[in-house]
């Protein structure tokens, strides 16, 4: 176990993002999304949206708008190249659309170790709200840290570690 459990409950800096229609079209292109509800305003409005809706996983990117989005990992002694994304969940309360000003407020949750300390797990829970305080979504991320001693080089989670 190389991650100190004293970080449990630590609040991380909130990050605010204005959802931009151009960014949503870029995101759609990057994931190969061709459903026009995500790129064409008329289609989106006909489907009952105020503007272009965000795809289900887009909200994960809000915290990445931070000037140094991985600094919190460095601050708790974790090197980025040893990190894998273990789990991700979204619970949706209202659909965000282009023009929304969203704030993600993250907090470190549980921290624990597996496989004799070869792998550390860091949970992070975030809420996403609009300017008016409405809850948009709750996100939970589990980050896996491959520790040098026990980690088998390339594939991390798939390799049996001691």
């Amino acid at each position: 176990m190389s991650v100190d459990q004293s970080v449990i409950g630590k609040e991380l800096p909130p990050v605010t993002m204005t959802v931009d229609a151009g960014r949503l079209r870029f995101f759609a292109k990057a994931i190969g999304e061709t459903n026009p509800v995500f790129t064409d305003l008329e289609t989106a409005m006909a489907a009952g949206h105020r503007d272009l809706p965000v795809p289900p996983t887009f909200l994960f990117g809000i915290e990445l708008e931070h000037a140094d989005p991985f600094a919190w990992l460095a601050d708790i002694g974790v090197d980025l190249p040893r990190v894998l994304h273990g789990e991700q969940s979204f619970t949706y309360h209202s659909t965000a659309v282009a023009g929304d000003v969203l704030t993600a407020t993250p907090r470190i949750g549980n921290v624990y170790s597996k496989k004799g300390g070869a792998l550390d797990f860091i949970e992070k829970a975030s809420t996403v709200t609009r300017e008016n305080g409405d809850l948009v979504a709750e996100l939970k991320t589990v980050i896996v840290v491959r520790n040098p001693a026990g980690a088998s080089e390339a594939t991390g989670m798939q390799e049996p570690a001691k």
Binding site: A30, N35, G48, P55, P56, T95, A154
Partner: protein, 136 residues
């Protein structure tokens, strides 16, 4: 496309087959998603960490699975969506996203379907497993 009135436990959505993931896709997704972690776009950094090559962002595959969901329902019908990343996806990996309805429940007067989700590479490696709950 599976019509809403036709859903039943065991119904499988039409699988979404993705072309082999190129380095261009990794670069575009890094920019569009905001995840600039160099492990996905810079082979020098990947090698310095002991890997042979860069590998795809897990959230890219979660994005593909999300497409499968929103090909079926409007995004505002999705109540929750979660995955576990079971294996890394190498460059040129060819993912297929699948979803099968495993439960239909009434929650607060709303009919909701729970789907089991999987992403599998063409060599059989399961890279993602998860589930989603949608208003149906």
């Amino acid at each position: 496309m599976t019509a809403m009135q036709d859903i039943a436990i065991g119904t499988e959505l039409a699988p979404l087959q993705i072309r082999p993931i190129s380095r261009t896709t990794l670069a575009l997704f890094a920019g569009a998603s905001g995840d600039h972690n160099p492990m996905h776009i810079d082979i020098d950094v990947a090698k310095s960490a002991g890997l042979d090559d860069v590998f795809a962002q897990g959230m890219l595959s979660m994005g593909y699975l999300g497409r499968l969901l929103t090909d079926w329902v409007d995004p505002q019908a999705i109540r929750s969506y979660r995955v576990r990343f079971a294996a890394i996806t190498p460059v040129h990996g060819k993912p297929t996203a699948t979803a099968t309805i495993c439960a239909i429940d009434d929650v607060d007067g709303e009919r909701r379907a729970t789907l089991n989700l999987t992403v599998t590479l063409d060599d059989g490696t399961v890279t993602l497993t998860g589930d989603a709950v949608v208003a149906a």
